[in-house]
């Protein structure tokens, strides 16, 4: 079927040629449409930033952390939101074992993502949501938590403790970065 009824009487000889020109038009229109449409649609399926911001945040002077007593420390993290950098506070639980060893736990319960607290009288971390209980080492004592508390990468520079903020998938036995 032609787009419009444009065949005039006495023109029948030229029909194959006209038909061919219409095929040309159709094929190249299709080429143009696809060349443009595929990238345009795909561009709306979000960005492809691979690397997260891998910057260590300063927590505090290493000497200032009490030994064998979990402390909650707040610091600023920088998070990428497309082309904008958001600086916001975050916190971690720090357990210093000795002058050379400290564990830094993500404050997010590995069960379903609530924030747990330290109960000094029982010497346990307890999550208020579903009663997941962890000891000062981060190991599961009781409750539904599928894995120990998530530790975060740390480093010590100029006697200061730095931490790399990361998030992990809750609810699964494996520690998996989001």
């Amino acid at each position: 079927m032609s787009l419009i009824d444009d065949i005039k009487p006495g023109e029948s000889k030229t029909i194959p040629r006209r038909h061919f020109l219409k095929i040309i038009t159709g094929i190249f229109s299709g080429f143009i449409t696809l060349t443009l449409a595929i990238p345009l649609i795909e561009s709306l399926f979000g960005s492809v930033i691979k690397t997260k911001n891998k910057i260590f945040s300063k927590l505090t002077a290493y000497n200032a952390i009490p030994e064998d007593k979990p402390v909650n420390l707040t610091f600023l993290i920088t998070e990428d939101d497309a082309f904008i950098k958001n600086v916001q506070p975050e916190n971690v639980w720090v357990v210093k074992k000795s002058d050379s060893e400290a564990k830094v736990f993500s404050p997010v319960c590995p069960h379903l993502g609530c924030r747990y607290t330290w109960h000094a009288d029982q010497k346990l971390f307890i999550c208020p949501c579903h009663n997941s209980v962890f000891n000062a080492e981060g190991q599961v004592v009781s409750g539904p938590a599928p894995r120990p508390l998530d530790t975060l990468p740390t480093k010590v520079k100029d006697d200061n403790l730095y931490v790399l903020w990361e998030r992990f998938k809750p609810g699964i036995p494996k520690k998996e970065i989001i």
Partner: protein, 655 residues
């Protein structure tokens, strides 16, 4: 079924009739590739509209995020490079096609009665294209766009009587900033394209009223061809080729990353987009008070001639051979524009050198020995601590005026061999590694006459040291974070105030490599060596040399451009002290001390990454790289063409 739907629609709306009106037309002389220029322009205009809208999914028109948001689109969004590339190259294609289209109409005499209105609307569309080109270039708010806006609006300001008011109106104040960017944005994305669409519709309606003009000889006009499908198939072939060309340019010649706009940067030579180069070049012929002739007079005159053309050239014969005066005039005009564009393109390529020339007209000629000394001054790191003619470090005193201080060569030689001979507290290292001849050359250079200033902004603290040549150890203590030392120091500078180890804003900006190379020559080369190859001695440091940046230390390197930039940004922002007992040279805190702007640091980082084979503006790809995408597109195009050609040949044979 399809026929039924078609029938149903046409019973309620005359779609078929409208199509007929648009397509059913006889072209005198038959279809021609010459007549595809108008539709090609329209095709590229549609590409501009679509890619323009798509860019708005990511771009934000604010001075602090415009450049970043555009780069986010270009590097991190799938096919963002293509969307921006098509828009960038499409803009150039628009100008070229509009020019060719006008030239075709001019040669064919197609503006003659009764098509004057079509021509006049066309002239308006030319102005609209120029306006889109100018306002669009500003939007990335990068070095190129910012300076185009500075120069462009200043040009508007030279218009007699209304100029300053007009400039104030365009930029929304006295200073080019956010309000100006918002105005350019609204002009570019709403007002001008809105007018353009109305005018294009009017242009096409006016064209349809009298149809194609056809050839000028009666002989050729006898046969005729249909617009649909004869002309349309030619139009679509040209459109497909154009699209392929635009994809090619986007893939292989991406728009430059010129770095974020930096109003303080004197090392850039603003040069307009290529389509304004002829005007830029023409301006150079009108110095001083005559300038207004170039800025306003000539463009106005050209537009007036365009408008008047159908009313001057009124004879009915369209044959170019019978209109020699007009043809010669048009030919001369085209040649003039092309020549000026080419001269403008090639002119002042090294204009950036202007920034290191002395302001004063006085000539400062160095003796051979002093010229040798100048080399030593740079390569042995003197310039890292001492500034000369406004360039160099701030740890030691300024040496620009040593010749006028009554110093003798012996005094300078003694200072070089044993700095403590004049001031026991001096922290200057003894340059015993130089031989006597070299020391003499260095002394000659220091005692030569030097230009007092340089175009480069001088670090203010550098001048404050001027009067205290012997007290160098204590004069810089006010600079807390820079590589400072205490006068009585034996414990040296191994430790500084606790420094932030976080990168600054520059780490997130995408700078320009060649601009970075220039800054590197001015600020970094004296210590890090030519092209960052290192090899410059640093007495007192553990390695004995200033670290090479090419290749750079392994723990700073990363294939990931952002990580790499973060790593070196920390050092450029906050400085560093080399390990060792008493290193003579230290890395300055270029960011903290505001010696360099964040934009300039971004340029340097792009350059240093480039030295190490990492592209700061690396595209994060999902499926295909730009080049792969072009190859695929070109392959499909070629495949389709070959199949069509074969079909065409077999059909010919059969008939």
């Amino acid at each position: 079924m399809a026929t039924k739907i078609w029938q149903w629609i046409n019973d309620r709306m005359p779609v078929a009739k409208m199509l007929q009106l648009g397509l059913d037309e006889e072209i005198p002389g038959g279809s021609s590739f010459f007549f595809t220029l108008g539709s090609a322009t329209l095709f590229v205009f549609i590409i501009q509209i679509v890619t323009g809208i798509w860019q708005l999914f990511y771009y934000v028109p604010t001075v602090d995020h415009a450049y970043d948001s555009l780069n986010y689109l270009r590097l991190f969004v799938p096919y963002g490079w293509l969307i921006h590339g098509l828009h960038y190259w499409g803009a150039s294609a628009m100008v070229v096609l509009v020019g060719l289209h006008m030239l075709r109409v001019f040669v064919w005499g197609a503006y003659k009665k009764p098509r004057e209105m079509t021509w006049l609307i066309g002239v308006l569309l030319l102005l609209i294209t120029v306006g889109m080109s100018f306002t669009g270039a500003v939007l990335p708010w990068d070095e190129r766009g910012y300076w185009a806006a500075v120069v462009g609006t200043s040009l508007a300001g030279t218009i007699p009587f209304v100029g300053s008011g007009l400039k104030f109106f365009i930029i929304g104040g006295n200073m080019l900033g956010q309000v100006a960017l918002s105005r350019f944005f609204i002009l570019h994305t709403a007002i001008i394209p809105g007018i353009a669409m109305i005018m294009i519709a009017a242009h096409i309606i006016a064209f349809r009223k009298f149809g194609s003009v056809g050839p000028w000889t009666e002989e050729k006009r006898k046969k005729s061809g249909a617009f649909w499908p004869d002309q349309v198939s030619k139009d679509i072939i040209v459109a497909a080729v154009l699209l392929l060309l635009l994809v090619l340019l986007s893939a292989f010649k991406a728009p430059p990353f010129t770095g974020p706009a930096d109003a303080l940067d004197a090392s850039i030579t603003p040069k307009p987009e290529w389509n304004f180069l002829f005007l830029y070049q023409a301006l150079k012929f009108f110095p001083g008070s005559l300038e207004v002739i170039g800025t306003v007079g000539i463009p106005t005159l050209v537009i007036l001639i365009f408008i008047a053309l159908p009313f001057i050239d009124r004879q009915t014969d369209r044959n170019p051979l019978k209109r020699p005066a007009f043809m010669i005039g048009g030919f001369v005009f085209v040649i003039l524009v092309l020549t000026l564009t080419i001269i403008g393109y090639n002119s002042n390529e090294k204009g950036t050198e202007v920034s290191v020339k002395p302001v004063s007209k006085k000539l400062f000629k160095l003796s051979t020995s002093a010229a040798e000394g100048k080399q030593l001054f740079a390569t042995y790191g003197c310039i890292a601590c001492h500034s000369m003619s406004g360039q160099g470090g701030t740890i030691g005193p300024v040496l620009t005026n040593e010749s006028q201080k009554g110093r003798t060569k012996d005094w300078v030689l003694a200072q070089l061999k044993d700095p403590k001979s004049h001031n026991p507290k001096s922290i200057m290292p003894a340059f015993t590694m130089l031989n006597d001849a070299q020391l003499g050359e260095l002394a000659d250079f220091v005692l030569s006459e030097h230009p007092a200033t340089s175009d480069n902004p001088v670090n203010p603290s550098a001048t404050s040291n001027q009067a205290k040549p012997d007290n160098n150890a204590s004069t810089t203590s006010d600079q807390n974070n820079s590589a400072q030392t205490n006068a009585d120091t034996n414990q040296t500078v191994t430790k500084r105030e606790a420094k932030p180890i976080t990168p600054g804003p520059a780490a997130d900006m995408i700078g320009n490599v060649s601009h970075g190379a220039l800054l590197f020559q001015q600020d970094c080369e004296s210590c890090h060596g030519t092209n960052g190859k290192g090899g410059v001695p640093n007495p007192g440091s553990l390695s004995g040399q200033v670290p090479s940046l090419n290749p750079i230390r392994k723990n700073l390197y990363s294939t990931e451009p952002q990580t790499f930039a973060n790593n070196i940004d920390v050092i450029i922002q906050h400085g560093a002290v080399p390990a060792g007992s008493n290193p003579a040279l230290q890395m300055f805190d270029y960011g903290d001390s505001h010696t360099l702007t964040q934009q300039q640091i971004a340029h340097l980082e792009a350059y240093i990454l480039n030295l190490n084979g990492v592209n700061r503006a690396q595209i994060e790809v999902t499926a295909f790289t730009p080049k792969q995408y072009f190859v695929i597109t070109a392959g499909i195009f070629l495949g389709a063409s070959i199949i069509l050609l074969l079909i065409g040949l077999t059909k010919k044979n059969r008939s």
